[in-house]
């Protein structure tokens, strides 16, 4: 019996959360289905005006992704809190931010990654072709971790409160506005003028900031919530 390295703890936690999600797949599919449904409702509601659909596509797909991420955030800490695992996580000799990072990474793998893979396909309904789906995928790859990381702070702050789910969304959504603007802006840019690089760079900068600060903030929020 020896001491574990931080990397090994990270692997175990990611394995645990992914396995848990896989063994109750219905939750994962519900989030994915929600995303596909919301995105699909727009072409049906707006009608077959190609120009209009192409113009609203980036915003619609991004808002749907944001809402789907909000749905999955509600589950981030609540179950571990209810069965006492979270207390054990707070007592681990490794930094708590690492635990938060592992949970967000696992959450991204099970809830955001399927959504990112499906997004270029559902975007076809809006007449997004050529390099627009590629930019859409890139913007989601860079943007969804930011949403989840910022969301983790909100989820940690509202842990154990009544109506935590809606409160988390209220807290987190305003903070996600820059991500939404740059993400949708990148896709919009490639549709309109073929230039998406500036927005993607801004998204990457947001991601770096979120990775550097959000896990520590969420860890502190968790400690306060569990007192």
């Amino acid at each position: 019996m020896t001491r574990r390295s931080p990397a090994s703890l990270l692997r175990w936690l990611v394995w645990r959360d992914v396995t848990l999600a896989w063994r109750r797949r219905s939750d994962v599919f519900a989030t994915l289905l929600f995303f596909v449904m919301v995105v699909t409702l727009f072409p049906l509601g707006v009608g077959p005006d190609t120009e209009l659909l192409r113009a609203i596509a980036p915003g619609v797909v991004w808002v749907a992704a944001l809402l789907a991420a909000m749905l999955s955030l509600a589950r981030l800490f609540t179950e571990d809190h209810a069965d006492g695992t979270l207390e054990q996580m707070l007592l681990t000799p490794q930094p708590l931010a690492l635990v938060v990072g592992a949970k967000v990474l696992a959450q991204w793998l099970v809830s955001a990654l399927p959504l990112i893979l499906v997004a270029p396909i559902v975007a076809v309904q809006f007449g997004l072709w050529l390099d627009a789906p590629l930019v859409l995928t890139m913007s989601l790859v860079l943007g969804t971790p930011v949403i989840l990381l910022v969301g983790a702070i909100g989820a940690a702050l509202t842990l154990g409160l009544r109506g935590a789910g809606s409160l988390t969304s209220l807290l987190v959504m305003p903070l996600c506005v820059p991500t939404l603007v740059f993400g949708a802006g990148a896709v919009q840019g490639v549709v309109v003028s073929g230039a998406a690089e500036a927005n993607l760079r801004l998204l990457a900068a947001l991601l770096i900031l979120a990775v550097l600060f959000a896990p520590w903030a969420a860890a502190t929020a968790l400690r306060i919530s569990l007192e």
């Binding site: 063994r23 054990q88 007592l91 007192e227």
Partner: protein, 205 residues
């Protein structure tokens, strides 16, 4: 080893318990007694660092735990009254994950041995949701066997356990004390099963 200095707990407007102080030596077993709501769980959570004390401090090897947090966390095991067993993971997987969280690298073989010690032989691959409350509790307690930390905090250790399991956990605790470990056990039932009980902390209602 572990020392509590004038620990006080105020929740809301109410003082839960009067200042509590004690110093533990290797091999000490402390029993925290008191009626429901007297702050047994709060005291344990305070000692392991989950709850900041309203006043007073906890010292580990002579220094406040806030100064050597990682060292302290690596030295303690806290088993709360909730079993922290995941319904979708098997007993073995649950134990392996919780030992990883405690910072220990436990082999599958060692984990199986620990589960067998708690009487869960043959149930290693049973998912948590199919284990009874007592069996889930045993999975949580198997961590004590698998991770040899010097200080144990046990909340309502006999809850949901049958006579056999109570006897096993008594043996486990006594071996731990004989090896120079420290145990702080909160209970409202008489804890006469641990023979060399060193001290009793009484909390008033």
């Amino acid at each position: 080893m572990l020392e509590a200095r004038d620990l006080e707990c105020v929740r809301g407007q109410r003082q839960l318990f009067a200042p509590v102080s004690f110093v533990t030596q290797p091999g000490d077993c402390y029993e925290v007694k008191g009626p429901n709501g007297s702050g047994k769980t709060s005291l344990l959570r305070m000692l392991c660092g989950l709850l900041p004390p309203t006043r007073g401090e906890v010292l580990w090897r002579g220094a406040p735990v806030s100064e050597r947090r990682e060292e302290y966390r690596a030295a303690i095991t806290y088993v709360g009254h909730r079993p922290s067993v995941k319904q979708e993971l098997t007993a073995l997987e649950n134990l392996l994950v919780s030992t990883a969280l405690s910072g220990w690298d436990v082999s599958r073989h060692a984990a199986r041995t620990a589960l067998a010690r708690l009487g869960l032989k043959g149930l290693e691959d049973m998912p948590g949701r199919r284990l009874s409350e007592g069996q889930q509790r045993r999975v949580a307690l198997a961590r004590l066997v698998a991770c040899p930390t010097p200080v144990w905090f046990l909340d309502e250790v006999q809850a949901a356990l049958d006579d056999t399991a109570t006897r096993v956990i008594t043996e486990v605790i006594e071996e731990h004390l004989a090896d120079g470990g420290v145990a702080v056990i909160a209970t409202h039932q008489p804890l006469d099963f641990v023979r060399h009980l060193s001290c009793r902390i009484e909390l008033a209602a």
